[in-house]
Symmetry: C3
Subunit: 290 residues, 3 copies
């Protein structure tokens, strides 16, 4: 038997941003070792300085464990910050926290980037079934999180734009964002989407393969749940080994050059020109809020 629990809704307390992320975890009763099914579903409003997200938690010390068994602890850590869901609708995840990339020192950037890598490694190779229930905007790092899931359900609302729009901010999606996108929508569509920083509205997102299903806004959660039921019907060990076989080569590419990727990020983000454009962008966001 399966029941559903809200194990995680959390408030981004730091930097006083009202962002909340909601995660639904589905437990199989009697399952002791892992929580094998997991729906990502965040509701948070984007605000100035508001590129905070889901990812912030990663900056805390991670328990020393293999990525393959990290998912349950990820869910566990999420439960540290529970709150009623749905209080900040409009955004699935605003992605990486720009304030972490702006006006800090190289050591800070390196630590932050390592945490971002860690989140991706854990989600992309998670043994859990991950279903993204996307009922808000889903740009940049938020899009990446959804792309690590096994299935994406998007609300049919023109505000629900999804895409890796890094170039629009003057920054670059790293190669493992690229790999994740290419795996999802193919090389040509990824080439165009990444260069133009495209944010796809629902119909286009579906057509290009960025999401698997578009449904009316009030059916996103129920659709995600019924999709999950389908994935849960598969013998778990066979599904996990198959998922691993599909994704391990992509993960290995990052593992082979993780430090180089960090150095690359740090030296890029430390450039004066990049810092300037990020600051201008954050200013603009603050003025919007003000």
């Amino acid at each position: 038997m399966v029941h559903t629990q809200h194990v995680c809704t959390r408030k981004m307390e730091s930097r006083s941003t009202p962002c909340t992320a909601t995660c639904f975890c589905h437990l199989i009763e009697g399952c002791r070792v892992t929580i094998p099914y997991f729906i990502l579903s965040t509701h948070c409003s984007q605000t100035a300085g508001g590129h905070q997200s889901w990812l912030e938690h990663q900056r805390r010390p991670l328990p020393p464990q293999a990525p393959s068994c990290g998912s349950s602890s990820l869910a566990q850590r999420c439960t540290d910050h529970t709150r009623a869901p749905g209080d900040c609708p409009g955004v699935f995840s605003a992605g990486l926290d720009l304030t972490e990339m702006c006006g800090r020192n190289p050591a800070h950037y390196a630590e932050y980037w390592k945490a971002v890598q860690e989140l991706w490694l854990r989600l992309y190779l998670s043994n859990l079934v991950l279903i993204a229930a996307i009922s808000g905007a889903c740009p940049a790092g938020g899009c990446l999180i959804s792309l690590t899931c096994d299935y994406r359900v998007l609300a049919d609302n023109p505000k629900c734009l999804i895409g890796l729009n890094e170039t629009l901010l003057g920054i670059i999606a790293p190669f493992w964002f690229r790999d994740t996108l290419v795996n999802t929508i193919g090389h040509r569509a990824a080439e165009r989407a990444l260069q133009l920083g495209l944010l796809f509205p629902p119909a286009e997102a579906l057509q290009v393969g960025m999401v698997d299903q578009v449904v009316p806004e009030d059916q996103v959660q129920s659709t995600a749940l019924s999709v999950m039921a389908q994935w849960m019907a598969i013998p778990d060990h066979a599904r996990q080994l198959t998922k691993n076989m599909m994704r391990k080569p992509t993960v290995d590419r990052l593992l082979k050059q993780r430090d180089a990727d960090i150095q690359n990020f740090v030296s890029f983000i430390s450039r004066d020109s990049i810092q300037k454009s990020l600051q201008m962008y954050l200013e603009k966001l603050k003025q919007k809020k003000g």
Copy 2:
């Protein structure tokens, strides 16, 4: 000038299963070295213990020759077992013989898996034009065979399901099944199809790219023949070299780690849990028959 011959319809005599496979070979008169055009089209009914197939022949000693010239001998060996076609309609190929994977010893499993590898290597890199005329169910190993062809024509019948449904049996499609599928329908669709063990009905099979054409059941053979005529119009040496260029990297991946792949299969299939679930599956099939 070209004429058509039924060079191969065969009965699976071993294990007293009524499965028959029909192959149409198209000979160019005067061509001595190879039979360059080949349509795969099997008609066999699935029965209990009935995961026998096309592949059984591979368990016989193979003549010492390069895979690239193996296709004619493959066709040759098929002619050893001729019978009138069409006497066992309903299944294109039921795929691998589960009885070969159940209750045997490791040496047996190793020998069987090597033969399965051999069949794939020969078909996937065959210099022949291979057209799959699929007028029956096409699961697992049967789907793999069809994916090695140059073109797939599927009957528009809801019983004609096609897909790599290994996970449903609790087993795993090996990496070269994965590669063959990814080459055909892309990474994302393969990831979903393999994890869920999807068997696509005709319309979905066409949409996802698992087959190239869906036609009424009585036009499968004639369509396959006219498709073949199109492929035959291409200068043969250029077509063969181009096919080789497209497929060789995928084949090389297996050749580099053939023994490791065998060991991997043997240790997986020898697990108590896997043996148990295969036995239960075979029991179920027998009861269906009985």
Copy 3:
């Protein structure tokens, strides 16, 4: 501010063929170092011996510079041969010059092939935005040129066929043609298209992803210009780095084995059987003209 200039229309004077290529370059005022935006648009009629093209220019000595900064000089060299545009409608580019591959010596073939490689390397990894405005036939090497662009607009005219039809001439598209095509339309579609030497009419070209947009013939240029404006709105350094990230692995594959690829071409094209079939093809073209 941006303005448009015809910086390049050129006549293929050598071998007295009436082929003309038109290129539109878009300059950002004040930009000193590079011409960052570039539309490929050739208007030339195909004639006997007329597989001359755009590529001929490459046979001149190239200035000693990295491919990454070669584009401005490519544009520069184009300006050496200006002429009014549009005087030879009907062909985007007829591709490689078959007369360069026929009846010459190995050293000549090697030099020619190196130049073809060079053109591809420069175009495919160009920092410029390249938009192909295709209002004529676009076979073989012409198709390759269009595939190096960032976006392809095709005229909705049944004469505007596009594809890598090398096998039809009995020759083989090299592996980097294959890679470029696979990157654009995926592995399966490329496998079929390359083996059959398919030339796609507009609707099919759009469906398979060979081009990005099909528009009425008289809107090709204006559409290309407005697409370019979209690409120009992206911060240039981010776009360039992203483009490089997408394409560098493909380029590196050729760079690693450039000499082997030349030797491979020379030995293939020097075969008696290949020379014979090219000569017959050229004869046929001459008779058509005569």
